[in-house]
């Protein structure tokens, strides 16, 4: 069985993996990273979205062996120094979650949208989140949260970049 070395939320793991093992099952079943849930088996719902080397991927559609040597950030690795990531905080403020099952994937996908477009329009957010399904919120508050998160993140960036 191949040996997979992967860093998840800042901790390095080495795991013998069957070649068919999905990244999401490595996270959930082997590493105890159950913050990333599974919502479908056809890569439609996006609940399992994580950042793989900084880019969002659906971890049900990546083999663990493909993540060898990579850096993975899950919803569990976002909060730091006792505070939520601005996008997590924005989801809280805007009531952008109800049952919360899609939320980990939704937050990770939202962060990824801002990589290319730090100030996305409502339309860009809706298009950008097309691969993440939510059954509770009707998306209105998720869109508002992503707008708010974007504003907070750019404020934080400005603060860092100001001498």
């Amino acid at each position: 069985m191949p040996l997979v070395t992967v860093t998840v939320d800042g901790i390095k793991y080495e795991q013998q993996c069957e070649p068919r093992l999905l990244l999401v099952h490595l996270l959930r079943e082997r590493l105890g990273k159950t913050g990333t849930p599974i919502g479908c088996d056809t890569s439609n719902c996006g609940a399992c979205t994580v950042l793989l080397d900084g880019k969002s991927v659906k971890s049900c559609s990546v083999l663990a062996v493909q993540a060898d040597g990579s850096d993975v950030v899950t919803i569990e690795g976002l909060a730091s120094n006792g505070s939520l990531h601005p996008m997590q905080q924005a989801f809280h403020e805007e009531h952008a979650l109800q049952c919360g099952y899609c939320t980990p994937g939704m937050v990770m996908a939202a962060i990824d949208i801002l990589r290319d477009d730090p100030d996305p329009s409502e339309e860009a957010i809706r298009e950008g989140l097309e691969g993440n399904l939510c059954r509770c919120t009707g998306y209105c508050n998720i869109v508002r949260a992503v707008r708010r998160g974007a504003q907070e993140m750019s404020k934080a960036d400005r603060a860092v970049n100001t001498p």
Partner: protein, 793 residues
């Protein structure tokens, strides 16, 4: 909340000046307590649960809609690595019992035996026939392929009309008719005789797949004596009773836990084959077992919703006033009657009159067996179907009479000064103000301006036509008065329970029989208790969803939790205060009548002397100086059984642009003005409306479970069953009017299903309205581009 969470989440609460002064929690847009764990990945989903020695279960499911089962050979599976056991339905025939139906709606109803794993015959694609138990979920899935089954195909039964025809193949030996249920009030024949206007239509409520985002999952374990079952369920309490009755495991040896549950929408209001079998497997093997469905497995085997053919007619005077409404339903039960399968259409039976006055009403429903997945409750459960029919008919009536659809409704609805009003079906609507909600909606929508634009586009022959849809709806929530349920032959009561405990340190622990799965009860219940006891919101925590902690309850469905459970909570708080008053009076050496309760303290009227409720709690803990006859500890519990239903209402307006060349419908604007009475948390209420709208719109435009001619489910994956994404839905304009319910102390009405119930007819009315100049009078849901385009040809 843990210390970490308290640090993580910076509270930003919008508080009005008035609220600040009074310290009122009810009415505040509190951000939710639940969010901390949900946002940081520390949620306890059932599939997260790991136990030492946990085994994984996988089910072999029928590839045929209808077949007799010949030989089943599991021996091949047993030889594979990691496989611990494998069983067929025959191995469990003696112990699995029959999955329960709790709602035998008529005396002559046919309730077929429903084995958790099929024994002799399968009746829908996806029905479990065998299972494998292995040390790893991949190995369990692999081993299913080594099981051999000999099938003897039988003819599928897929169409309800065909199923009832003479000579149809039978789903069950007793035939394909499950029941017929009738209700008649007034002289319906007189209403239709010589009526100036009759609108007669047949609508089809397509079959839907509820699709909660969290797939079902079950974990079961035993120590040899007692059993614990975790399940992604809405109904831990009901489930415990039903599992005890089904499996014979004594109720007092069975604990059911619904940990964090990722949505339900009715789909987790069920007693499932997998829950029964996981219990039986852990009993047989002595090891903990887990089963988690794949989404494709779920599409096949989570109960479906809707699926009715509605033949509806309405008789009216020439001025549009309704004389009577007649409803004939065929309701597809699917292959078996599950927990409340036959009762779902009856929940709509009392709602076809909507908000309107009439002299006669006639309803009949025939439940029909087919070789498909059983249907059962899906968000709204009967009421969306009823509301769709009456609201579509009202638009058709307006068109027949050439009057505005708002005007035709005005001429028929119950006026605000007429409440309380007893409807034709005998329900007493306690309060409402349809005029106010409609006026508000019209103004937010810009109704007149949009009508002008519509006229302009029609005149110009614009290929993109504008349609305006109206839905003025009500629904019944607060399920339910136990006596009313008894009258409908339902197998349980409709009460709810709560416990309130003020702990020695003054913190408050609340136990509720409601079982939230996204609704935010931990937040809303804390707000209610904080106000009632005068304690800080942060000092209240809410426990739920575990029968060992919450020992009584009727769970969460039918927009009942606040209207019923919230009242149990208030009653428990009142009992706590009654006891605390006695203890405080004793300590303050005065009569209980001399005390007033203000901001969490009992004050002797006219003096400064007081005891806070926290001080009283400590005194009841030490119990050093309690008045005679008062027991230690400051806690209480209460059970509330409502006397009547509650009736939220609202006016929804939808504008669509329909491209007549491509058939594509785009929602341009959607205004929802809901009246859910008093509001505990406006943020949560708005969220419920938003989500409800999305699901109702999805029925109108996107979703449909499709079986082919052999009975295979074509929409068995998320790739085939079209759930709307953010890109498919508009921003919603929502607002509220507030006519308090008069039947409960908080004045609340329930909000969980309103959006779903109201929006489907609003959208379809809009699509049909856009296409009226082309002679279109109806489009079968979902109004896909292809269906719209075909309707135009």
């Amino acid at each position: 909340m843990s210390e970490l969470d308290a640090g993580l989440i910076a509270e930003q609460i919008e508080v009005t000046g008035e609220q600040k002064q009074n310290g009122h929690e009810v009415g505040r847009a509190r951000r939710r307590k639940e969010d901390a764990r949900l946002l940081t990945g520390r949620t306890q989903w059932t599939d997260n649960i790991q136990l030492p020695g946990l085994l994984h279960v996988a089910f072999l499911r029928s590839p045929m809609a209808h077949a007799r089962i010949g030989r089943v050979d599991v021996s091949g599976a047993l030889e594979l690595p990691g496989v611990v056991a494998a069983f067929s339905g025959r191995d469990f025939a003696a112990e699995q019992g029959s999955l329960p139906c709790a709602w035998p709606v008529s005396e002559d109803i046919v309730i077929p035996d429903h084995p958790a794993m099929a024994v002799d015959e399968v009746r829908y694609v996806g029905e479990a026939v065998a299972c494998v138990i292995a040390t790893d979920r991949y190995q369990a899935a692999d081993a299913l392929e080594a099981i051999e089954v000999d099938w003897e195909p039988l003819p599928p039964v897929l169409d309800m009309n065909d199923a009832l025809a003479e000579g149809s193949p039978k789903v069950h030996e007793a035939g394909n008719r499950a029941y017929t249920w009738k209700l008649g009030v007034g002289d319906i024949d007189a209403a239709f005789r010589d009526a100036p206007v009759v609108v007669d239509r047949t609508y089809v409520q397509q079959r839907l797949i509820p699709t909660a985002m969290e797939p079902r999952a079950v974990v079961a374990t035993t120590d040899g004596e007692s059993f614990t079952l975790w399940s992604a369920t809405q109904i831990p309490h009901v489930l415990r009773v039903m599992l005890a009755l089904t499996t014979g495991i004594p109720e007092h040896r069975l604990r059911v836990i619904a940990p964090d549950v990722g949505g339900g929408f009715g789909s987790k209001l069920q007693v499932t084959a997998e829950e029964v079998l996981c219990l039986l497997l852990t009993r047989k093997l002595g090891k903990p077992v887990k089963w988690t469905e794949s989404r494709s497995e779920g599409n096949l085997t989570v109960h479906h919703g809707r699926d009715q053919i509605q033949h509806v007619s309405l008789a009216a005077e020439a001025d549009g006033r309704i004389r009577g409404v007649r409803v004939e339903l065929l309701a597809d039960m699917g292959a078996y009657l599950m927990l409340i399968t036959p009762g779902v259409p009856l929940l709509g039976a009392l709602m076809y009159n909507g908000i309107y006055k009439m002299d006669a009403y006639d309803f009949s429903c025939t439940g029909v067996f087919t070789t498909k997945m059983p249907t059962d409750a899906y968000r709204g459960a009967g009421r969306p179907e009823a509301t769709y029919a009456i609201e579509r008919l009202m638009d058709e009536l307006a068109h027949e009479l050439k009057i505005d659809p708002i005007e035709v409704r005005r001429r028929n609805w119950i006026k605000h000064e007429e409440f309380p009003y007893t409807t034709i079906v005998g329900l007493e609507y306690d309060s409402g103000n349809y005029e106010a909600a409609t006026d508000r909606a019209l103004s937010l929508f810009g109704y007149d301006k949009l009508r002008a634009e519509q006229a302009d586009r029609r005149d110009r022959g614009d290929p993109v036509q504008l349609g305006i849809g109206v839905s003025t709806f009500t629904e019944m929530c607060g399920i339910a008065p136990s006596r009313a349920l008894g009258g409908l032959n339902y197998g349980a009561g409709g009460w709810e329970h709560a416990s309130v405990r003020v702990l020695p340190t003054g913190k408050v622990e609340v136990v509720t029989g409601s079982s939230a799965h996204g609704q935010g009860h931990e937040t809303a219940w804390s707000q209610i208790v904080a106000d009632s006891l005068g304690v800080p919101y942060e000092d209240v925590s809410v426990l739920h969803g575990d029968t060992a902690i919450s020992h009584k309850g009727m769970d969460t469905y039918g927009s009942r939790s606040l209207v019923v459970g919230g009242m149990a909570l208030l009653a428990a708080c009142d009992k706590v205060k009654d006891k605390a008053r006695k203890v405080a009076a004793h300590a303050l050496e005065c009569s209980p009548d001399d005390l007033e309760f203000v901001q969490g303290a009992f004050r002797v009227k006219g003096t400064g002397a007081q005891k806070t409720i926290q001080e009283v709690a400590l005194a009841t803990f030490t119990a050093h100086d309690l008045p005679d006859g008062v027991e230690p500890r400051l806690d209480s519990d209460a059970t509330f059984d409502p006397q009547t239903f509650s009736f939220p209402h609202g006016t929804h307006l939808c504008a669509v642009e329909v491209d007549t060349e491509t058939g594509l419908t785009k929602i341009r604007s959607y205004v929802a003005v809901d009246d859910v009475g008093k509001v505990v948390n406006p943020l949560i209420v708005e969220g419920q409306v938003h989500g409800g709208l999305a699901q109702g719109i999805a029925q109108a435009l996107y979703e449909e479970a499709v079986y082919d001619a052999e009975g295979n489910l074509l929409t068995s994956t998320m790739a085939d069953y079209l759930l709307p994404s953010a890109a498919d839905l508009p921003d919603f304009v929502t607002d509220r009017t507030e006519t308090p319910a008069t039947t409960n102390p908080l004045g609340v009405k329930g909000v969980g299903e309103a959006g779903t119930i109201a929006s489907t007819p609003a959208v379809v009315n809009a699509v049909v309205d856009a296409l009226r100049p082309y002679g279109v009078r109806d489009i079968q849901m979902p109004c896909t581009p292809e269906r719209v385009w075909r309707a135009l040809q």
